[in-house]
Structures are given as C-alpha cells and as structure tokens.
C-alpha cells in the first residue's frame, strides 16, 4: 500500500544533525518528514565517546564548533533536557616537546576565539592534575569544552522536533530518491512515497550512497569507535582527556564509570552491526594505563561500537549538492561530529530555507572530491 506524503523538507537520517534540522525547520513553520532506518541517534550520534570538544579541532571546523558550543549550553531551553552536558574542560596531553609544540600552535592559532585555553608545563600540570602519570610532558586545557551523554542527544532533539510538528519516522529506510522537475521523490521500504521541495542528506555512514543517487561523489569509509567502560570508581577525572595525535581518550562520569576508547571496532554497514574488537583497542588501553596508572587494576564491564562515516581529509561534507539544486549534504564527520551536531542542524535549516548559511561552508563542499 503506497502512502503519499508531501512536505517542504525531507530528511534522510536521524542523527543529531538530522533531528536538529527537523526541529529548526519545524519551529520556522516548515513541514518536515525525517526518515531513520533504525532509531534516532542509534549510530554515530549515539555510540560515540561523548566528548563535546572544540579543542584541537581542524581550524576549518572551528567557526561551526564555536557556534555549536553556544547551543550546547542552551539545550535545556531548546530541547527540554541538558543531556548530561557538563562543561568539564578538555585536557589534551603531550608526551614530548614536538607534541607540546602542536598544542602551543593551536593555542596561538585560536588566541582570538575565547576558547579559554591554558598551557601547562610538566610541573604545573602535575600540581593541578595529580592523577596523571609523571611521564606526561605537558598539556593544554580548554575550559570551555565539556562532555555529554550521547545516547540522549538525538532522541531529545527528535522529541522536541515532534513537539514542534515534524514527522519523525523511525524504522523507515529510504530505498531510493530522485528529482523530477521541482520535486524530490523518495520511496521507503514500507511503501511510503514522499514528495518534497528540499532534501537533506544526513545519513551518516550511509550518506555517500544517497549522494550517489544524484551523481554526487564522496569517498566515504565506514568505521566504528572502539569504546570501553569500567566499573564505577571514585570520581577524580574531572576533565575529559585526549592526546596529541589521538590514540586514546577518556572521561569519567559522576556516577564513577570511566569511559575510554581508541582504535576502531568491527562494522558491517549492510547489516547495520558493529562491535568493539579487543585486539584493536589494545594500544589505546595500554596508553591509558600509562597515563592514568590508577586504572591498571580496574575492571572493564562493557565494550561497544557503532558506525561512523570517515572522509580522507578528516573533515565533513556540509553544503549543497554539486548536481542537484535543493539537495544538501552533511556527513562524514570522521568520528568527531558529536559536538557539531546541533550547529549542523541549524545550518541545514538555513540552507533549506534560504539556500545559504551564516557560517561559510566553503571548506566543506562535496566538490572537493570531484576530479
């Protein structure tokens, strides 16, 4: 049985960006239908580490990241829940002079942005953060960063979007989409036929296939984070930590559990399945035990993964299609899109309504992958 749906904007993908776009559009009076193959926030948006970080980002992403940081603070008003967002700060560690130089460079490059960055040499670092191993050379602290519970963010955006009038369809796979004349036409697995003037492709690790339906190309690779969590421990890790060059990251929630990750898990994009792989997490875990020696004898209670989209240059695609007017993409956040989700929703709403966004998207064009 075919059901016809006609909306202003159709959205494929129920991650934070998609749900936030739906909310922004619905609040502005647009009719919106979002389609999510599983449940909202069940992949990259929901399984990630939970770091809400501007620190150490690619400088091209910073204008987005700064705006998003404001939205994070505003979540209770915007979606009725803070999603456990706490501005704990993010501490990035260096193990030698060269790594320290990377941190100094970032602090220098972002001096005018009010990120609230503080550099620590060895002595000052160990005085301030006594739980760190003495081998850590130095670090940079970004106090305006924080952490949140990734499992709540997209669902609360979806809930708010529904309340604002958007239609959020879960367990509804879009099997194909075309543009006929002025209208996009989407077909779904359950037999819905959707017509819209605008189409937003925020389908995460699946988005490059949808881009491909319209002749857009991006060399996306699916990957999964390799996440672990410990039993509850006395609370002491009062900042989120990372290291220059990645490798390992960790945070502790007030309940006491230490969440940490590094390396990649196993993913099967077709079956929509993912899991952590012990072997792949070994180096990261070893490194964490070195950085936080008191974690050596703790117990690991759970591991997990999920499916994220990666692009070769480490930054996402955000912006209009190269081929099709009215189609906009936002995907390939390379494992660091959690913090950006809210602002990307805002940008997509601007693109859908005005065709352009306040923040420049020149660096994120899908055209950069065209030969």
């Amino acid at each position: 049985m075919t059901r016809q749906i006609a909306v202003d904007v159709a959205i494929i993908g129920g991650g934070t960006a998609g749900c936030a776009a739906a909310l922004n559009l619905a609040k502005k009076g647009m009719s919106v239908a979002l389609f999510e193959q599983k449940t909202v926030g069940s992949q990259a948006s929901g399984v990630n580490f939970g770091g809400v970080r501007q620190h150490g980002r690619d400088l091209r992403e910073l204008p987005l990241s700064l705006r998003s940081n404001e939205i994070w603070t505003d979540l209770p008003r915007l979606i009725g829940n803070d999603c456990e967002f706490v501005r704990t700060g993010h501490l990035k560690l260096a193990f030698n002079e060269a790594e320290m130089a990377v941190l100094e460079q970032f602090a220098d490059d972002t001096r005018d942005l009010k990120l609230d960055i503080e550099l620590f040499g060895r002595n000052a670092l160990h005085k301030r953060f006594g739980w760190l191993d003495k081998t850590v050379f130095g670090a940079s602290l970004c106090s305006s960063d924080g952490q949140a519970n990734p499992r709540l963010v997209a669902p609360y955006f979806a809930r708010a979007a529904r309340a604002a009038g958007a239609h959020i369809h879960e367990h509804e796979t879009v099997t194909g989409a075309t543009k006929n004349g002025a209208d996009f036409c989407l077909e779904t697995r359950s037999g819905k036929s959707v017509h819209s003037a605008t189409l937003l492709n925020v389908a995460g690790a699946w988005a490059e296939r949808i881009a491909g339906w319209f002749g857009d190309f991006a060399p996306l690779q699916p990957r999964g984070p390799n996440m672990q969590v410990s039993e509850p421990l006395p609370y002491r890790l009062n900042v989120s930590i990372g290291a220059v060059g990645g490798g390992v990251y960790a945070r502790q929630i007030p309940r006491g559990n230490l969440i940490f990750g590094g390396g990649y898990g196993w993913t099967d994009r077709d079956k929509i399945r993912a899991r952590a792989v012990v072997e792949n997490g070994r180096e990261a875990t070893k490194r964490m035990v070195t950085i936080l020696p008191w974690t050596q004898d703790i117990q690991v209670i759970r591991t997990w993964s999920g499916i994220e989209g990666f692009l070769p240059d480490g930054i996402p695609v955000i912006g209009p299609s190269k081929t099709t007017p009215g189609l906009f993409h936002a995907f390939g956040f390379c494992g660091h899109g959690f913090q950006l989700g809210p602002v990307v929703g805002e940008i997509l709403a601007e693109l859908a309504m005005e065709g352009r966004s306040v923040i420049s998207l020149d660096n994120f064009s899908i055209q950069r992958f065209s030969t």
Partner: protein, 462 residues
C-alpha cells in the same frame, strides 16, 4: 578433521555428557568451565575442606551427581580440562579467556555451548536489602559453603526449586518460616496430568511438599510479594495471601526466585538466533532438532540453550555431541539422535506442565512500584524505566537501556532483563516477546583491565 579443535564451554550435566560422547568417538575436546570443579550448578561440588557425603549434599539426586562426577573423572585423561576459566568474549572463532587473573585466547573450530542458567527474579520493594538471596544463591550457600543464608528463612517465588530448597534447609536444621508460592493452587491442579508424565521426578516433588507439611512448615499458594522489611538487614516480609489479606512474617533471610533463565551471552556474541518461549516467558536459543545453533559449527545444550532441567541437559549434551560427530562425518548418528530426541520429547511434556505448576508471574512486573530499584548495578528504578517509555518513546528493551542505563552495569542486564521486559510490556500493552532482549557486549562478566591491554599468549596444551 582429526586436527579440528573442539571446545566445550561448561562442565555441568550437558557439558560432561557432550564430552563423554566425543571422547568415546576418539576426540579430545578442550573443556572450559568457570567453576573450580565439574558438576555445574545442580551437581556443584563442595570445596575439598568439606566432607559431607553425597546423600547429604544432593538428596535424591545423589546417584545422578555421583554418576556425573565419576564420568568426568574417567574422562580426565582424554580431555584438556580447564577449571576456573571465564570465557569472557567470543570474536569470530576466538575465545577470550580469563584464568587465574590472566587472559588467554583460544581459536576453535567447533564449539559446544553448555553455559547453564541463572536465577530469574522480579524485584519487589526491599529486595536489595542484605539478607535477600535468590533461590539458587540459597542453594549454593548450602552446597558449597555448608551454611544457610539466615537463621529464619522465608522461601518465596515460583519454581520447582522452591519446595526442594526449603526441604534441604529444613532437613539440615535451618528454620524455614514459610514457603510462599506465587502460583495459585488451582494452576497446580490443572498442571497435574502433564506432571504425571514426569514419573519419579514428580513423585520426588510430591515428597518434598509432603515432608514440609508433616513438619508443620507453612506452604501457601497464590501469594503476592509485598515488601522486604528492615533497616540494615531483612527483618520481615510483607505479602498478600491468596484471599487478598495483608500478612507479615518475621524472618532474617528471604530466598526468592521465579525459575531460571539461560546464560546466553556467548551465543549472542557469536550471532546465534534466539526465540521467545511464551510458556516459560524466556528467551531460548533457536536450535535445529539436533542442537545446532543458527551459526555454523556452534552447538548448544542444556539449560544454557533452553531451560529443561538437569536430566534433559544430560540428554541434550549428548545430542549436541552426536550432531557434531555427524558433521565431522564420523559415521551415522541417526540412531543415537533419534533415541535422545524421543526421550527429550517426553521430558518436554513434563517441563511444560512444570512451567504451569510453577508459573512465571509476569503480572507482577506491572505492579513493581516506581520507587523500586530494578537494575541494581546502575541504580535504575521501575519509574525511570517507565519514563524512558513515556518521555523518549523507548519501544524496545535496548532503547530503554540507552535512555536510562537499565541493564548497562556489571551484570549487563542478566538480573534485571526479565523485569525490564515485563515492565515495558505492561506500559506499552504489548507482548513481552516484542521488546527484544538485552544485547550482549563483551566482556560477558567484568574483567581486569589487563585482559584488554596485555597481549595474551596462545596457550594450548594437548
């Protein structure tokens, strides 16, 4: 073929009988067991310092326990038996093992899962007080530590174990305050025709009930648990009797439970299919008629696949081994498989009757108060689970887990899973089977950090 590495996980009734069949066919399996000695939960052995004889420990089941232990002893020279081994992860065909604080990996060609079962509970107010145990826990204290869980114990729930453990306790000299059965007497009577097919097992059950009666131990039917009372420790139990009257019993320990649930985490990590059994309200492994799971080269037997009890576990253990031998082209196994399935079919009739005589009280999930903790690992209350449904629209159990952390802690929902399913089914007015089951994520049980960062040696004896 002779070089294939065959591993049995679990050395209870199913694992031991599987090993016996394999050894008889000239195969030397590796047996990994979490316990220090073979026997599983039901035929668990006491530590060497204790000297009670078989009849004192196992009662009527003493001959079966002895046979199983003896069989295993006779196999010791032909199997690579590793006790105290927790298999905490399965990635493709690699097993991750925790033994004496160290991690090892073993790659396997074929695997028989005989992982057993654990108590199934439904929380009630006060169940987290010290002094409240599961029925199985009360029995382990008795068998393995030669002690009772309290001086004055109430036994509560719905399980064939209920009269049996009460009898064991009373016979050993502990005071049994009362046995409170949540199944109504009428349901027991309706189950009688099926129960009769159980032969000796049924007669033994009758004997326990009669023994309790002749020793003036109160046995009530159709009760509804109310609240475990007490401040630091259990001091009493409030409940509603079958006539609807509030009652209170003084006690210093409560053992409760509603039958068993299969330990299926490894099968889940292997990607095996499951099915929901509406009679027992339990998730079971989906098996072909011969103990093969849906995943190639993985077999399953015993209560770890479907709750059928110890006698059936021995048969299904043998069945899985015969299926495996057939798959190795070691001669036709049809006769053996046919005979085993005939016996298992007969036991199934008894088992369904038993499931009705000691019915799972799924209606109790609806009545769990909002303030009652359901997931004790993460401190999640029934009210928070209901909110996850109302507020964020959780429509399956893993969504509820994502939203409110139920089942996310140390035990990964092995304890709170059935209750969470029941609570959500009631809120959503849906069949419990439609809510799914908690997805397993490694480790199966908590493991020391060293397991995930030290490269384990590939360590195989034999």
């Amino acid at each position: 073929m002779a070089s294939e590495r065959i591993v049995i996980i679990g050395a209870g009734p199913a694992g031991v009988r599987a090993a016996q069949i394999l050894v008889a066919a000239g195969i030397h399996p590796i047996i990994l067991d979490e316990a220090p000695m073979c026997g599983g939960q039901i035929y668990r052995q006491q530590p060497p310092v204790l000297q009670r004889d078989y009849s004192e420990l196992y009662g009527f089941e003493a001959p079966k326990a002895k046979r199983l232990h003896d069989t295993f002893e006779s196999l010791r020279g032909s199997v690579d038996y590793r006790s105290d081994c927790l298999v905490w992860n399965l990635e493709q065909k690699n097993l991750h093992i925790l033994h004496a604080g160290n991690s090892e990996t073993i790659s396997v060609d074929r695997l028989i899962l005989a992982t057993g079962a654990m108590d199934r509970i439904l929380p009630f107010t006060g169940w987290t007080l010290p002094g409240v145990f599961t029925l199985g826990g009360a029995q382990i204290a008795f068998k393995s530590q030669a002690c009772a869980i309290g001086r004055r114990t109430v036994f509560l729930g719905s399980s064939p174990l209920l009269p049996y453990i009460a009898y064991q306790y009373a016979k050993a000299g502990a005071e049994v305050v009362a046995v409170l059965d949540t199944t109504a007497r009428a349901a027991k009577i309706r189950a009688l025709p099926g129960l009769l097919s159980g032969g000796m097992t049924f007669i033994k059950g009758l004997y326990f009930m009669a023994w309790l009666r002749t020793h003036n131990i109160k046995y009530e039917y159709g009760v509804t648990p109310g609240e475990a009372l007490g401040d630091q420790n259990v001091e009493g139990l409030r409940y509603t009797d079958q006539r609807g009257n509030q009652q209170m019993l003084e006690c210093d320990a409560i053992a409760f439970g509603y039958g068993l649930r299969s330990e299926m985490q490894l099968a889940d990590l292997a990607g095996c299919d499951f099915r929901f059994d509406p009679v027992s309200c339990n998730w079971c492994l989906a098996l072909d008629g011969h103990g093969r799971t849906s995943v190639r080269d993985i077999y399953a037997a015993g209560d770890g696949a479907t709750i059928l009890g110890a006698d059936a576990a021995e048969l299904s253990g043998a069945r899985a081994a015969h299926a495996l031998l057939g798959d190795l082209n070691l001669g036709s196994q049809d006769t053996a498989l046919g005979r085993l399935n005939q016996e298992l079919d007969r036991m199934n009739i008894f088992r369904s009757a038993l499931e009705r005589a000691f019915a799972y009280p799924h209606h109790l999930a609806k009545a769990i108060p909002d303030s009652c903790i359901v997931c004790r690992c993460e401190g999640v209350t029934a009210g928070e689970i209901r909110s996850a449904v109302h507020e964020l629209g959780a429509d399956d159990i893993n969504r509820a887990k994502a939203f409110c952390r139920v089942g996310m802690g140390r035990c990964q929902g092995r304890v709170c899973g059935p209750a969470t399913e029941g609570i959500m089914a009631a809120v959503l007015n849906r069949d419990q089977a439609t809510l799914g089951r908690f997805r397993t994520q490694a480790p199966v049980k908590p493991v020391p950090m060293a397991c995930v960062w030290e490269k384990p040696p590939e360590d195989i004896v034999l």
